[in-house]
Amino acid sequence: MGPYHHEEYATLIDFFTWAAMGGHGLYVWSVYGISIVALVVLGAWPLRAEKKLLVRATERTDLEGGS
């Protein structure tokens, strides 16, 4: 790890200034964090449920075929 150059410090400070959102970072990032979690859950839930239902239906077809 070498010493930071002046430009890298400036970029880092710019990033933290932006992330602080003028003192409102807690509110802004909380909203975006909650939204991402909600959208991931929304998007993943039906896909997982469909997969589960198809696996269960396949097992049932297997059982009926075997009996």
Binding site: M21, G22, V28, V31, I34, E50, R56
Partner: protein
């Protein structure tokens, strides 16, 4: 015209819907996510801070689309309820069953983001004014649609009752929309209307439009995917589902 009518009639068939919707779900998911990423980057990084609210206004890019979409999902449930009551179309009930949980999550998201936006701008997260209260009622209506279906064992009776509730509850939508006009409220009036010029700066408006379109597309994909689940649940004993599972085994 005839082909559109034919397609509409075919979409009323659970089998046709299931087999024809797979590609749509993928396309809508991808389109929605891409648009949301672009809109959020634009809103969080490129849009300038608001003169009065500073950077806290950036909450708008999630709050406004989720609130608007929650209302639209309920309105769509009411239209589906009407279709079910009049024509007894099975897919209309499938739509309500799939859309109600999605609407509940969107309404919760709009309430939570509103609370988190209210804290720095209003000095309080919650006030019992007409806008916030009517949106809370919308959340309870979505819960009602879910609970009523689960409370009635017979599928046709549950579907009819839920359709009636969806129709009755739609009276809340204009109340939400005009609550900021009819009543004294802390909530600001609409910045974008059909009749007037938007009161929001263009550089702030574009990311809002991109994020809104993204959320609409993504949620359309989620509702389609949830409808496929509902169709599979109801039709699992039918021959066409067995054919699909047999083809999966090969």
């Amino acid at each position: 015209m005839g082909s559109i009518k034919d397609a509409f009639h075919r979409m009323g068939s659970p089998r046709f819907f299931y087999l024809g919707s797979s590609l749509w779900v993928r396309g809508l998911y991808v389109g929605g996510i891409v648009s949301l990423v672009i809109g959020s980057f634009w809103g969080l990084v490129l849009a300038p801070p608001d003169k009065y609210q500073g950077d806290s206004f950036r909450i708008m890019y999630m709050h406004v689309p989720s609130a608007h979409l929650a209302e639209m999902v309920y309105f769509a449930c009411a239209v589906a309820g009407f279709v079910y009551v009049v024509w007894r179309m099975k897919m209309a009930d499938v739509f309500i069953a799939a859309a109600a949980p999605v609407g509940a999550i969107l309404t919760s998201l709009s309430l939570v983001s509103g609370i988190l936006w209210g804290m720095p701008t209003w000095g309080t997260g919650w006030v019992w004014d007409m806008r916030t209260t009517s949106v809370l009622v919308l959340l309870f209506l979505f819960f009602g649609l879910i609970a009523l279906r689960q409370a009635i064992p017979r599928l046709d009776r549950a579907a009819y009752s839920v359709a009636i509730l969806a129709l009755v509850g739609v009276v809340n939508i204009p109340i939400i929309k005009y609550s900021v006009v009819w009543f004294t409220t802390l909530h600001q009036p609409a910045s974008i209307t059909f009749v007037n010029e938007p009161t929001i700066e263009t550089s702030m408006l574009w990311p809002l439009l991109v994020n809104s379109i993204g959320l609409y597309i993504f949620v359309a994909g989620v509702i389609l995917a949830a409808m496929r689940v509902e169709v599979l649940k109801r039709e699992q004993a039918t021959e066409w589902v067995r054919t699909i599972t047999r083809s999966m085994q090969r």
